[in-house]
């Protein structure tokens, strides 16, 4: 195994090994568990850093192992995967910290953190897989390792949410499996790096490829929560807040969106996809999802549910960017993969803090919460403004590129969709901000806890502040060479390059 391959394996193992070790820890060995968790997260981040620097210097990374006859297990690091890997590794660190604070004194922590680590391993694996079957493998591992997190609380509601989650995602997985086998039958093993494998057969197998594209979208669209496959997402809200953060911002939904990016760019290739006329329907579906999610969000009183429908809507921005032909829209979609992640995780951290500190679960209970918890609310506000797309916060950058890309591609109707969506975003976020900052707090909070000198546990406070700062930085410093935007431009240049 080459050193390059070892690095990739190391990135996977840095969460897998601690995860497995944590399973077998006694419930009371709190210190050891925390240490392992943080150690794994930090090591992973460092390794990802090394990877990014090396790739930037032009080294290529890949690893293949024998897996199925004629079909290896393959890992690799291209620009697309780095984008997702960096996001996941970075947010993983903060989510871990948050989860440690959030779950203090609750039961079954070894089990929880074990699966938590497996979940991130799967996500990183999704990012690093270099062919479809490897992708499928980690995609399914992700499903399986998330389930215990969703049903962690062991309540009846959690069970129902978990079963629904499993039903949706495994059905999607089965459809994806069918698509993967089928395309393998058609083309042989499909590795992501080799572009244009499809060009030769586009005309001869037109219908088959269109059908396959549909299957891929059905399979992956479940995790990306495309309407009408989104039904599991709001129900999965029963999970503890760090899990929601993970599901929405880091792992599951993102893996879905990333998968769509992979299929369109690295399996079909934009040109072949455009020749097959499959992008237009995808764009329409994404637009429908954007509007539908926003409208549903408008009517949710439960904070986490509102955020969940917001996710349904926002993730489709990424899909939309992918589905519109042209580099600018691509940049918008890819950069939103990062931006949506950091914004949404900030929002969920905020929601978790309200619930954990004050017992607030509903929007209607949030009056004056900004005075009781100014730091959390500030972070929450930044996230919300980003979602609406207020300049100069990160969300603005994505929407701007999407808008421009749509116009360049001659799809003006998309601009309308984006405008409507922004209005709707404002309509469901601004009232929250108004309540939080400008209404007077009630005499008693539903269930208040005190945590010494800070407004809440420091482990709950630091993560949202860090991610909120990032939301601002990503927007303000968008033109700097290391920003997500710069990276997205690089990928778009490759995709549409000579």
């Amino acid at each position: 195994m080459t050193p390059q391959g070892l690095l990739l394996v190391g990135i996977l193992l840095s969460s897998f090994v601690p995860g497995v070790m944590i399973f077998f820890l006694k419930e009371r060995s709190h210190g050891l568990r925390t240490g392992l968790n943080l150690l794994g997260a930090v090591v992973k981040l460092v390794l990802v850093g090394v990877l990014v620097v090396n790739v930037y210097q032009g080294r290529s990374f890949s690893l293949t192992l024998e897996f199925l006859p004629g079909l290896p297990f393959a890992l690799g690091a291209d620009a697309n995967s780095l984008l997702f890997v960096t996001l996941s590794a970075f947010l993983w660190l903060w989510t871990t910290l948050y989860a440690i604070g959030y779950l203090e004194d609750s039961a079954h922590r070894s089990r929880f953190f074990g699966f938590f680590s497996l979940c991130v391993t799967a996500t990183i694996g999704v990012a690093l897989s270099a062919n479809l079957v490897t992708f499928l493998m980690f995609y399914e591992l992700l499903t399986v390792s998330t389930l215990p997190l969703v049903i962690h609380r062991g309540t009846r509601e959690a069970m129902q949410g978990g079963i629904r989650y499993l039903a949706y995602t495994l059905t999607g997985g089965a459809i994806l499996l069918l698509a993967v086998v089928w395309i393998q039958d058609l083309l042989g093993p499909v590795a992501f790096q080799q572009r244009g494998v499809l060009d030769a057969v586009v005309d001869s197998h037109r219908t088959e490829l269109q059908l396959l594209f549909l299957l891929f979208m059905l399979g992956i669209g479940v995790k990306a929560a495309l309407v009408p496959l989104h039904g599991w997402l709001p129900r999965a809200m029963v999970a503890p807040a760090p899990v929601s953060a993970l599901l929405h911002a880091v792992a599951v939904v993102k893996a879905g969106a990333f998968g769509i990016v992979r299929i369109v760019y690295d399996v079909y290739g934009v040109e072949s996809a455009a020749r097959l006329d499959v992008l237009q329907p995808l764009a329409i579906l994404a637009s429908v999802t954007i509007i539908y999610g926003s409208i549903r969000a408008l009517f949710q009183d439960e904070l986490k549910k509102r955020l969940a429908f917001s996710t349904v809507s926002q993730v489709s921005y990424i899909v939309l960017g992918t589905a519109i032909l042209g580099p600018v829209a691509t940049i918008g979609g890819l950069v939103h993969l990062i931006h949506q992640g950091i914004m949404k995780i900030t929002l969920f951290f905020g929601a978790g803090n309200y619930a954990e500190t004050l017992g607030i679960h509903r929007v209607s209970e949030m009056n004056g919460v900004g005075r009781r918890m100014p730091w959390t609310t500030a972070a929450f506000t930044i996230g919300a403004l980003g979602m609406i797309g207020v300049p100069p916060v990160a969300g603005y950058i994505s929407k701007w590129y999407l808008q421009k890309g749509a116009v360049l591609a001659g799809e003006e109707w998309v601009a309308l969709v984006l405008g409507a969506s922004s209005l709707l975003n404002a309509a469901y976020f601004l009232p929250i901000l108004y309540r939080a900052w400008f209404l007077s707090p009630p005499e008693r909070w539903p269930a208040e806890h005190h945590f010494g000198r800070w407004e809440t546990n420091w482990m709950l406070l630091v993560p949202p502040l860090v991610t909120a700062a990032l939301v601002v930085l990503a927007g303000v410093l968008a033109e700097s060479p290391f920003s997500p935007l710069a990276w997205a431009k690089l990928i778009a240049a490759q995709e549409y390059g000579p």
């Binding site: 039961a107 079954h108 399914e140 978990g162």
Partner: protein, 496 residues
């Protein structure tokens, strides 16, 4: 000379150990331990010989077929021996702690008879896998069936004894049908050797009837719908290590003979319609078994019905491996699936046994609260084994389904694809049902009686083996290539 020792230890070591364990009951566990060692070494040597020198044939008595009986180790046989050895050894370790004479006199009785019966079963399996003589296979089938029945009856409760008796009746009548087929085949071809039959078998009504009789008997023994009715009560009521052996290995014995008959002895006599009939029954089993599993109230019955469903997949091999393309792919897919199911199901029964035992024998699924915190390792093993049953990557179940799906698409038989996928989803449903119940909070940490770590870890080891078997699939497929039936490899171009 080189391979004779391996053949002898494979079959005679467990047989001798069983006899000694009967004479000296106190030595049972040590004899079993020694047998596992001897069989493992013999297996390793046999594998080496096979990979270096190709198919190994031993002429017992020095006569050779047709007058004598041949033993043969080809890729398929060694593949099956691998599974048998691994699971046999694991179950042996598990049983060391499962039956404990110090706990109660009843368990002492069970322990005393478990070892000889277990060792006899083991030698019957090895003998079955190595034999190329269809009459000799009849004797091994009976040896296997009797020991299986008696191991079930060891449980001693009413349900177990009733199930054992029913199984005995079914098994005996199926064997007689098989024997009748053998009689016709012998008359027609003047040999009972599989290899010679391949050259001597001529199409015609008598042989068709003979094959139908033998297949019918074997189908019932391998619990294919509609001959499955005996399986769930038998497998669910046996002691845990026995359930593991039955589901993982015993039902596969008769399936293995079917493979030998259909693809080796009589490939020219099999019509596509017959293959499709078996495939159709297999598909029905996949769906029907899974639906039944889904609605069971008892954990072990759920697992047993899951066996009915999973065995159905194996029969998809018959139409697919007779298709015009992708024959070897289907063949290897079915067999990798078999191997993975064996490990996964053994792990599942062992871990279910742990859970049930810790609950003092209660195994209602509705009462599994707190399973994940009280028996974390067993729950984990159950879940991992479940992944393989569902067919999630990188499990062996995935590899097997992948190959079957490839073969199905290559042969243009898309309907089997649908069956495989729907079956996977149903499997997910019943596995999830158990795990979801297991994740509910225990009201009070019940009066759990702790299990020996050896029992927990044996189950986990098998589950890990099943869940990671995808990575072994290339090696396993290469192994299956050695001496694979000629019909599987199309003359022009190799297997895909």
């Amino acid at each position: 000379m080189s391979h004779a020792g391996s053949f002898a230890s494979m079959i005679l070591a467990p047989l001798a150990a069983a006899t000694l364990a009967f004479i000296f009951p106190r030595l049972g566990r040590w004899l079993a331990f020694g047998t596992a060692g001897a069989v493992s070494i013999a297996f390793a040597r046999l594998t080496r010989l096979l990979l270096d020198g190709g198919v190994q044939v031993h002429r017992v008595g020095g006569w050779g077929a047709p007058l004598g009986i041949d033993l043969r180790a080809d890729g398929l046989a060694v593949f099956m021996l691998l599974i048998t050895t691994a699971i046999g050894a694991a179950v042996m370790l598990y049983a060391l702690r499962y039956f404990n004479a110090r706990r109660s006199p009843a368990e002492g009785h069970q322990e005393r008879y478990f070892w000889p019966l277990f060792l006899l079963l083991w030698s019957a399996l090895n003998a079955l896998l190595l034999s190329t003589d269809i009459f000799n296979l009849y004797v091994t089938l009976e040896l296997l069936g009797f020991s299986a029945v008696l191991l079930i009856a060891l449980d001693g409760r009413r349900a177990a004894l009733t199930a054992a008796l029913r199984y005995l009746f079914v098994s005996l009548s199926a064997s007689l049908l098989y024997l009748l087929g053998v009689a016709i085949v012998y008359t027609r071809c003047a040999t009972v050797d599989l290899t010679l039959l391949a050259t001597r078998a001529q199409p015609g009504f008598p042989l068709t009837i003979a094959i139908a009789l033998m297949t019918g008997g074997l189908l019932v023994k391998s619990a294919l719908i509609p001959g499955h009715f005996w399986l769930p009560p038998a497998h669910a009521n046996a002691p845990a290590p026995v359930s593991a052996l039955l589901s993982a290995l015993v039902v596969k014995g008769s399936f293995y003979i079917m493979l030998r008959l259909w693809f080796e002895a009589f490939p020219g006599l099999i019509t596509p319609a017959a293959g499709n009939l078996l495939g159709g029954l297999g598909a029905a089993a996949v769906i029907w078994g899974a639906l039944n599993a889904l609605f069971q109230k008892r954990l072990k019955l759920l697992v047993a019905y899951s066996t009915v469903a999973q065995l159905g997949y194996l029969f998809l091999l018959f139409p697919l491996a007779a298709g015009h393309e992708g024959r070897f792919t289907a063949w290897s897919g079915g067999l990798v699936f078999l191997a993975s199911h064996a490990c996964a199901k053994a792990a599942m029964f062992l871990s279910a046994g742990n859970v049930v035992r810790a609950r003092g024998g209660r195994d209602e699924i509705a009462h599994l609260e707190g399973m994940s915190s009280l028996q974390p390792i067993s729950t984990f093993a159950f879940g991992l084994a479940g992944l393989s049953l569902i067919g999630l990557p990188p499990s062996g179940g995935f590899a097997g389904k992948w190959l079957l799906l490839r073969a199905g698409l290559a042969a243009g038989q898309g309907w089997w694809v649908a069956v495989i996928l729907i079956g996977s989803l149903l499997a997910a449903a019943y596995v999830a049902r158990v795990l979801v119940h297991g994740f509910t909070r225990a009201p009070v940490p019940g009066p759990a009686r702790p299990n020996s770590p050896l029992m927990e870890w044996t189950a986990l080891a098998l589950a890990i083996l099943a869940a990671g078997m995808g990575f072994l699939s290339v090696w396993l497929t290469d192994l299956l290539q050695v001496g694979a039936p000629a019909i599987l490899i199309p003359p022009a171009g190799g297997a895909p």
